[in-house]
Structure formats: structure tokens, C-alpha cells
């Protein structure tokens, strides 16, 4: 077979490909969504590559730290990008056989993302300002309600597949195409969409383009960052968005993902991933155009709704099996 390779080389290549893809794709998706919104509002908008350009510029700038900040402020960006990158590398995004794929348990992914959230919340508190604390408090409140929903929604899929290993779930779904339209999956999908909107800070949970102090969540938390560290924090957030979009698409619509050891399959898998995430980004951007930001204290209702849906997904899955 042409392009057939040994498993460890293949897995490493696949993981590096996934990381590179998400590093580029994440910021592009953010730019794409901004572009869609701008066009829908009748503006031309910044180019799709604007976020990548910003990153390049920020990386060459000087590092600035707030006066009362400790080592946490400097470590947090590394932890955020490090944890997200590990999560991206081991998840089934382009292929069902990434490096360390046997460790790609849903709990690992959720807690790697949580580690990133915790690091950014601590960084927000580090400078000892009002805005940082406000952002951290709000981000942690939202995270405390959305991450359980993420976990339970994927557990609904795990019960059906008999494993909480993400590549395992994706492979099982590929083998049973009839599962995709089950009621449990639909509920879990809706729950996950709510979670992803909350986790990536999109409307109606957080407005990514606001810089009005009282309405910021993520932006308030990272207000003290500048230069290369701001670049890392922004990149981390964009990668998180890319990862979550990619996970949704592969857990529910796994078609196109590479399952055998060949570079052609990897190419097809990457193309499918790009196509699927663009569709999701378009969908979320269209939702954003039509919705206003919710009041902070109305958010728990939305998130609790997401959590209840995910629990319902588990129960429905148990009843209908």
C-alpha cells in the first residue's frame, strides 16, 4: 500500500499535524466569525487573517508586567497554551489514531481545559486590580456550570460506546452510523453547543468584541497582558475554540476522519475537519448576529439548561438502549 507507515511515525505525524492545523485554524475561525458578523451588519470588516497578524505583531513586542504581579502572571500563558496543545495533540481531530490517543479520555480533555481556565483566572487575580478579579470571578462562575455539562454530555456518548476514550467513541460512532440520529445524541449535541458557546466566550454569554469594562468577562481577566504573553493567551483562547468546534464535529459527525495508516487519509481528514469547523463557525456566527448579550445573572439559567439537557441525554440513552 502506498503511503503506509509504521504506527508510531504515523501517530506522531498525525498529532503534529493536528496541533499545527488548530494553531492556524483556531485564529482563522475567530477571524472568519468576525468577518461573517461584519458582512451581515453591512460592513466590510477586518480580513480573516487579522488575528494571525495581530499575533505575529504581539510576539515581537516588549513584555510588560503589572507592579504587584507575581510569577503566576508569567507562567499562566505557558500553562494555558501548553495544556490546550496537549489536549489538541491527543484528541481525535484529523485521525482516530493520534499519538497518546489511548490517554485521550474525556476526563483528561475536560480537566486539561479546566487547567487552562484556572491558570487564566489566577492570572486575572494576580495583579490585584478590580477588573482582573471581576473577569476571573465571572469566568470561573460560568466555567463551574458549563464544564460539568460538557463532561456529562460526552458521558452520554460514552455509555453508548462503552468507553470514555474519545478516539474510542469516534470509532464506535463510525461503526454504528445509526447512532448519530438517536434522541440521546441530539440532546447531547444541543447541550454541547451551549457549552461551547459559553466556553469560547461567544454571544450571548460573552461579547468577544467588547472592551466596555462592566460587560467584559474573558477580556477583563486578561487585561493585564501585553506583548508576547498576550499573544499566547489569545492563541490559547483561539485554540480552545478550534478544539471544541473540532470535537463537536467529530463526536457527532465523524465522517472523513482518518482511520488507516496513510497520508492520503490524513489529508482527507484535515480537509474534512476544516470544512466541518467552518460550518459550525458559520452557524455560531449567525446565532451571534441575532442575539444580544444576556445579563450575567440570566446566564446560569442558560447553562443550567445545558446541564439538564446533558443529564437528560444520559437518561434517554439508558432508556432507549
Amino acid at each position: 500500500m502506498i503511503g503506509s507507515v509504521s504506527s508510531i511515525t504515523y501517530e506522531s505525524v498525525a498529532s503534529v499535524l493536528q496541533v499545527l492545523l488548530i494553531v492556524v485554524l483556531g485564529p482563522l475561525l475567530v477571524g472568519f466569525m468576525a468577518k461573517v458578523k461584519a458582512r451581515a451588519e453591512g460592513r466590510i470588516g477586518a480580513p480573516v487573517t487579522q488575528v494571525l497578524r495581530d499575533l505575529r505583531k504581539l510576539l515581537t513586542k516588549e513584555r510588560l508586567h503589572a507592579r504587584h504581579a507575581s510569577v503566576v502572571l508569567a507562567l499562566a500563558p505557558l500553562v494555558i497554551v501548553g495544556a490546550t496543545t496537549v489536549a489538541v495533540a491527543i484528541s481525535p481531530l484529523v485521525t482516530t489514531r493520534p499519538l497518546l490517543g489511548q490517554s485521550a479520555d474525556i476526563l483528561v480533555i475536560v480537566y486539561l481545559l479546566l487547567t487552562g481556565s484556572v491558570a487564566s483566572a489566577l492570572a486575572g487575580l494576580d495583579a490585584g486590580t478590580a477588573f482582573g478579579g471581576m473577569g476571573s470571578s465571572r469566568a470561573m462562575t460560568i466555567g463551574a456550570l458549563s464544564e460539568p455539562a460538557l463532561l456529562v454530555a460526552v458521558i452520554a456518548l460514552s455509555i453508548q460506546s462503552g468507553t470514555s476514550n474519545l478516539p474510542g467513541i469516534v470509532s464506535a460512532t463510525m461503526n454504528h452510523p445509526d447512532w448519530v440520529s438517536g434522541p440521546s445524541r441530539l440532546l447531547a449535541l444541543v447541550a454541547l453547543v451551549i457549552v461551547v458557546i459559553a466556553e469560547t466566550g461567544r454571544l450571548p454569554v460573552d461579547n468577544p468584541s467588547t472592551h466596555l469594562e462592566l460587560t467584559m468577562i474573558h477580556e477583563a481577566m486578561v487585561l493585564e497582558y501585553a506583548g508576547p504573553e498576550l499573544a499566547l493567551v489569545t492563541l490559547g483562547a483561539a485554540m480552545r475554540l478550534g478544539l471544541l468546534f473540532a470535537l463537536i464535529s467529530n463526536l457527532f459527525f465523524p465522517w472523513g476522519i482518518a482511520r488507516n495508516f496513510s497520508y492520503v487519509a490524513l489529508l482527507v481528514g484535515s480537509a474534512a475537519l476544516v470544512a466541518k469547523t467552518i460550518v459550525i463557525a458559520l452557524g455560531i456566527a449567525l446565532v451571534e448576529i441575532r442575539s444580544a448579550k444576556l445579563r450575567l445573572f440570566r446566564l446560569p439559567e442558560l447553562l443550567a439548561g445545558g446541564f439538564v439537557l446533558s443529564v437528560l441525554a444520559v437518561i434517554t440513552g439508558l432508556v432507549t438502549r
Binding site: L78, L114, G128, S136, I159, G168
Partner: protein, 665 residues
């Protein structure tokens, strides 16, 4: 076993050594205590490695019944936790001990407490068990008073704890009495032997009685009220021992009686245990997010973690009862691993909190801040403990919660409704507490140790002396061991989880460096994940010269146009938790007052504004208070019966005699 007896003897000797003159007292007592704990540690590890059982009976030490002691793997696991934390606490005490803690009574009580903690898991008869159980309860109750014997809160905490623990002990005693009157002897071996001949109703009744006592010790909601009072008021090494070792003995009791002595019982027992667990986990996690006293926060998080342990125990019992032995063992192993992990990180957190209290004079997060600059070592240890409890991958909380999730997930294979309810409640509790715990500990570390100092005490704080640092460092070690190489620890825990179970052909967990499941697809390799993480960070530093080389320039924080940023402008612990407090106000029932004083000339101008916010335990306010008030009013009413007149008392005696005669006739 001999080693453990020597260890116990050392602890007893240490308690006696507390009567030495003050120049040697602290040194001799803590050294003897540490040696005793080290011996017990060795003995328990040896038992866990070999899976052996050793029994000693002596008729001399306790009149009439004698003492029966037996060291089996299940007991050894709890001895291990107690001895490990006890060892660290003995070292910690050298630096920590202030005037109160140096006193004869305090040191003697501390050593007695450690002695009792080591004795409870090896007691193998009803009398030995209750003797050591009560020794543990009384010594810890008095220890709460040593640090602040004049403070009202400490006295109230001690009283609450005393009443709750004695009620619990009475309930356990009743349960044991039921078993022994129908089942021959009073040793655990006799009980085990006769348990199968008892009627199911009697067994369930006895289990329910002991469950109430043990669940109260394990801090299960609604029997938890003593715990968030007692833990904060006790001196920090005592809090560490109570939270890591004593509270876990409640779980030990449930496993020993339910699984080992009574052989499993029915699935409804375990539904009860798991419901206790799920409710406690959520209630504890929720209260931990709003607590502003750092030790109270840790106490509530103990309720949360012990709740998860009970979920694991309940799930295991239910699965074994429905015939899923492998998955059942998996869940019990996970619960016991969580006990060990919790002993390490919660001990470290309490010791770090003690170091903060010692140097700043307060436990109130709203008055701390910026401690990472003045006490970096304590801050580092607190951060590691917090990361473990938040289940950051590659640390101990994560490995044990992963194993617990696997137990619950594969428990869904069972078709019976009670088991499914247990599993669902467990998954929901595990998921929700994960998020809430993160809020609580981001708050504890971020508000307490980062930012700017909020009080004079925090500004002038200083780091702990070397002995305290060593003790904290010792307790952080298990976080890495269980976190990075769980595959080496799990075989030992599995031996403990097999006590009283039917032997199964193959172990449900694969033993490597990481963890893997034998019969299902699922594995984690924390070491490899850590290597991957480090490689990514090194690559980042290598590729971005801006990050690696240049030293950051210090500038003022963004002040929205204001020049001066004071520490009062920061978020506090109360404000940090305010959004969640609002979301869950139905459960937390916060009491908020706003008091506005107007200027005398005009009511449009305000002179001062006071905002008060208090989250007290709603269950205590609405569940226990009415009960206490009712008891008090009955007592007051009964007082009217006594007016000092001898005639009246004679009349009472006569009436009572008549009633008895009528009833008997």
C-alpha cells in the same frame, strides 16, 4: 503486626513524655510520635504489599473482654493514611507549637489522638473498636479547645462536635449490640461468621444504625454540622489529622461493617450510602465556594471529597450486589485511592493554612492577599495541594477521580433501576463538584496568596520555619506519586478493596506505570502527558525569543484612568463568590444587610454604608436549630415538675409505681 504494636507503644510513650519538663517536652514527644508513626507506616505498607492478615488477642489490657487487634489490608490502608499524616504533623508541631500547643495537656492529647487513629482500623472486636473510637472522639474534642480555649466559637464548636460524635457512637453501639445479641461473640470474626444466619431485616436495621454513626463521622450531609465548626477552630495539625485521617475512618466503618462483617446486604443499603455521598459532595462543594474563612473552606471541601468517596463505596456495594464483581472492585479501589489522595493533599492544605494563620493572625481570606511575595514556600505548597484537589491532570486528585468515573461509567452496564440511579447520581455529583471545587480553590489561592495585601498582618507576614516546611513538603509527595505513577499504588489499594469480597479471577485494573482497564477500553498515562506538556512549553520558549530572554518591565496595572490603585479596590473572597452565591441562593440562603446612614443635613447624601453578608449553614439554621430549641423548651417545661417539695416527689414515686403495676398486670 509486631511493628505496628511497637508503633502504638511509641505513640503511647510520646503521650506520657508530654509530662517532661518544658525544656525537653516538645522535642522528646514529637520525636517519639514521629518514630511511632514511621513504624506504623512501615507495618501498614508491609501488610498492603503482602496482603497478609495478623491477629493479636490479649486478655490483660482491658478488663472483662480483653483487646483483639487485627491488621488486614483494608485496615492497613487507613493506618497508612493516619500514620503518614501523623508523621508529618509531629514534625510540623516542632515549628508550629506556640504557648498553648506546647502545654502538657495539648501534646499528650495530640499523641493520644494519633494513637487512637492508628488503633481504630486494627480493632477487631466490638469493645476494642468502641474503646479506640471513643478515645479518638474525646481526645480530638478536647484538642479543639487547646488553641483558643477562651474563644466562644471554639467552645461552641467543641460542644457541637462532642454531641454529634457521642450520638453517632451511641448509634454505632446500638447497631453492634443488635448484631452481637443475635450472633454469638463480640469479636469481628464471630460477627462475620454469624452474620449470614441473621434475618435480613435485623441485618438491615443494624447496618442502618451503624451507617448513621459512621456517616456522621464522615461528614455526610445532613449529619455534617459539626465538621465545618470543628475543623477551623482546632489547631492546624489537628485539623489536618481530623480531615485526612479521622473523617476517613467513617468510610472505613461503613466498609468494615457493610461489606466485611455483614457481607454486602441488599442493594438499597448502597443506594443510601451513595445518596448520602452525592448530596454531601454537592452541598460541600457549594459551601466551599462561598466560605471566606480558609479553614472553613477546606472543611467544606472535605465534606465534598468524602461525599465522592461515599459515592464510590455505594456504587461498589450496589454493583457487587447485582453481580458485577469486577466493576464493583474498580469503584471501591477508586474510592480508597481517593481516601489516600485526600489524606495527602488535604493534610498539606491544612498545614499551609496553619502556616498562614500563624504568620498573619487571621484565616479570613478577605483580610489576606499578596502572600506569595512574603511566604513563597507556603504559597507553593498550597498551590500544589489546590491543584491536586482541583484534579489537574498528573496530580493525585485526577488519577483517583478518573478511576471513580470509570467505575461509574461501566456500572451503567447493569440494567437494574437502583444501580442506575446510583451511577447517575454519582456522575452528576462528580461533574458538578469538579467545576465548583475549581471556583473554591481559585478563590482560596487567588485571593489569599495573589494580588496585594489587604491587611497589616498580611503585609508583615513571614514564611514558615524549616520543620513546618518539611512537613508540608512531605504531605505533597503523595500528590505526585498517586498522580504520576498511579499504576504502582493501585495494586496496594486493590488488596484493601478485596477484603470481604468474593475472589474474582482477574484484576479490573491493569498495572503499569499509568492506569488502564483490563476489560474495557480506557487508560491514562500521566507521566507521558507530563512529558508532552513539558516538551510543548520548552518548544514555546525556544521559538519565541520575546518570552524567554527579555526580563519583563514593571508598569502600573491598568486603572481605567485612575492613578492610584489601592488594595481595597481588589476583588475579595466575598465578591469573587458573589455570582455563584446568587445563582445558588435557594440552597445557600445567604443573609445580606445593607445599612445606610444619612448625613444629618440631607437625606440625599450618605455618611456611611455598611454591607454585611453571611452564609451560614442553612441545614443548621433550619434543621438543627428548631430541634435544639424544642429540646430546650421541653427541658424548661420539665423543670416545673421540680419545686423542692418532698411530698410532690413522693407523689411522683407513687404514681409511677402504680403505672408500672398496671402495665405489668
Amino acid at each position: 503486626m509486631t511493628l505496628l504494636l511497637w508503633g502504638l507503644a511509641c505513640c503511647a510513650l510520646a503521650a506520657a513524655a508530654a509530662s517532661l519538663p518544658s525544656t525537653y517536652r516538645l522535642g522528646v514527644t514529637t520525636t517519639l510520635g514521629a518514630v511511632g508513626c514511621a513504624l506504623a507506616l512501615g507495618a501498614s505498607l508491609d501488610t498492603l504489599l503482602r496482603g497478609s492478615v495478623a491477629t493479636v488477642h490479649t486478655a490483660r489490657l482491658l478488663p472483662m473482654f480483653g483487646l483483639t487487634l487485627s491488621l488486614d489490608p483494608l485496615g492497613a490502608l487507613f493506618v497508612l493514611a493516619a500514620a503518614f499524616v501523623g508523621f508529618a504533623c509531629c514534625i510540623y508541631c516542632v515549628g508550629y507549637a506556640r504557648d498553648e500547643m506546647r502545654s502538657r495537656s495539648a501534646l499528650a492529647l495530640l499523641m493520644t489522638f494519633i494513637f487512637a487513629l492508628l488503633a481504630v482500623p486494627i480493632a477487631a472486636s466490638i469493645v476494642s473498636f468502641l474503646f479506640s473510637w471513643e478515645l479518638m472522639a474525646v481526645s480530638s474534642m478536647l484538642l479543639i479547645l487547646t488553641d483558643q480555649r477562651h474563644s466562644r466559637d471554639a467552645r461552641s464548636a467543641s460542644l457541637w462536635y462532642g454531641v454529634m460524635t457521642q450520638l453517632g457512637a451511641a448509634s454505632i453501639l446500638l447497631g453492634f449490640l443488635l448484631l452481637t445479641t443475635h450472633g454469638g461473640g463480640q469479636s469481628f470474626a464471630d460477627l462475620r461468621h454469624h452474620a449470614s444466619m441473621l434475618s435480613p431485616t435485623l441485618r438491615s436495621f443494624a447496618f442502618a444504625l451503624t451507617l448513621l454513626g459512621f456517616a456522621s463521622k464522615a461528614g455526610a450531609v445532613p449529619l455534617h454540622v459539626w465538621l465545618p465548626k470543628a475543623h477551623p477552630e482546632a489547631p492546624s495539625p489537628v485539623s489536618a489529622l481530623m480531615s485526612s485521617a479521622m473523617v476517613a475512618l467513617g468510610v472505613y466503618g461503613i466498609i468494615r461493617v457493610g461489606v466485611d462483617l455483614l457481607g454486602g446486604g441488599t442493594v438499597w443499603w448502597w443506594v443510601a450510602v451513595a445518596s448520602f455521598g452525592a448530596v454531601s459532595a454537592l452541598y460541600g462543594a457549594l459551601h466551599a465556594t462561598t466560605a471566606t474563612d480558609v479553614k472553613r473552606l477546606l472543611a467544606y471541601s472535605t465534606i465534598d471529597i468524602l461525599g465522592l468517596v461515599l459515592v464510590g463505596v455505594g456504587a461498589a456495594g450496589a454493583l457487587v450486589d447485582t453481580g458485577h464483581l469486577g466493576v464493583g472492585e474498580l469503584a471501591l479501589t477508586a474510592a480508597l485511592l481517593l481516601v489516600l489522595a485526600h489524606a495527602g493533599f488535604k493534610g498539606a492544605l491544612f498545614l499551609a493554612a496553619g502556616s498562614v494563620e500563624r504568620s498573619t493572625g487571621t484565616r479570613n481570606l478577605d483580610r489576606l492577599g499578596g502572600l506569595i511575595h512574603t511566604m513563597p514556600f507556603t504559597a507553593g505548597m498550597f498551590a500544589l495541594g489546590a491543584c491536586s484537589i482541583m484534579a489537574v491532570p498528573t496530580l493525585s486528585g485526577f488519577s483517583s477521580e478518573w478511576l471513580l468515573l470509570q467505575g461509574l461509567l461501566h456500572g451503567f452496564r447493569d440494567q437494574s433501576t437502583p444501580t442506575l440511579i446510583v451511577m447517575l447520581a454519582g456522575v452528576v455529583a462528580l461533574a458538578l463538584t469538579g467545576g465548583l471545587t475549581a471556583v473554591a480553590f481559585v478563590k482560596a489561592f487567588g485571593i489569599g496568596f495573589l494580588g496585594q495585601a489587604r491587611s497589616r498582618g498580611a503585609l508583615d507576614s513571614f514564611d514558615a520555619p524549616p520543620t513546618m516546611k518539611v512537613a508540608m513538603a512531605i504531605l505533597v509527595v503523595p500528590s505526585f506519586v498517586i498522580g504520576l505513577v498511579p499504576g504502582l499504588v493501585v495494586p496496594l489499594v486493590e488488596r484493601a478493596a478485596r477484603v470481604g469480597q468474593a475472589p474474582i479471577p482477574s484484576s479490573p485494573v491493569l498495572h503499569g506505570i499509568g492506569l488502564g482497564l483490563s476489560h474495557f477500553r480506557g487508560a491514562i498515562e500521566p507521566t507521558v502527558l507530563l512529558v508532552a506538556f513539558v516538551v510543548v512549553i520548552l518548544l514555546l520558549l525556544a521559538f519565541s525569543r520575546g518570552l524567554a530572554n527579555r526580563k519583563a518591565r514593571r508598569v502600573d496595572a491598568w486603572g481605567c484612568g485612575r492613578d492610584v490603585q489601592t488594595s481595597r479596590m481588589q476583588y475579595t473572597a466575598t465578591s469573587f463568590a458573589e455570582p455563584l452565591q446568587r445563582v445558588f441562593s435557594d440552597v445557600l440562603r445567604p443573609q445580606t444587610d445593607v445599612e445606610v446612614t444619612h448625613v444629618a443635613e440631607s437625606r440625599y447624601y450618605e455618611q456611611s454604608l455598611r454591607y454585611r453578608n453571611r452564609v451560614s449553614d442553612a441545614l443548621e439554621q433550619h434543621g438543627y436549630r428548631p430541634l435544639i430549641d424544642a429540646t430546650l423548651s421541653i427541658g424548661r417545661a420539665a423543670r416545673r415538675l421540680q419545686n423542692g417539695s418532698v411530698h410532690r416527689y413522693l407523689a411522683f414515686g407513687f404514681v409511677a409505681l402504680l403505672v408500672v403495676l398496671v402495665v405489668l398486670a
